[in-house]
Amino acid sequence: MHKERLDMLKRIQEVEFACIDLNLYLDTHPTDQRALMDYNAYTCQLMMLKRQYECQYGPLKNFGCSQSQYPWKWIDDPWPWEIEY
């Protein structure tokens, strides 16, 4: 698999992890404005990264998160869990 694709997936994982950790922090610190700003910035970044990845390489999830080109892209190899890093 192309290094560029793997790098992109890695970056998505990193940003998504930052989002979920800030999610947990904000659950107990709902008025922390700096944390909220970072959460919003990372969330925005995450959505853009995913959109960019899916345009180039196909869907990350099977339904509900993004539209599919024709023909239906989800059944194309590799499945997300078959990707080797």
């Binding site: 992890f17 930052a18 950790d21 922090y25």
Partner: protein, 68 residues
Amino acid sequence: MKEYECIHDNGYMQQNLEMLRYMLAKAYVPYQMYNMKYPLDKALMAGTLFPELVKPWPPYYYEDVVKK
């Protein structure tokens, strides 16, 4: 020393209470503050975005902590 109304009227209990006054431990949890964060690639490796949650406290497990 606070006064107690003993259910069983004996000096033994009063003596025990007096001892407990000095022996009881108190637990506390410091309130987490968002002052620093790891670079995102380090955060994924460390399993947390927050350096203050990584043992040993301090110095932190990863040194290149980003000051906000």
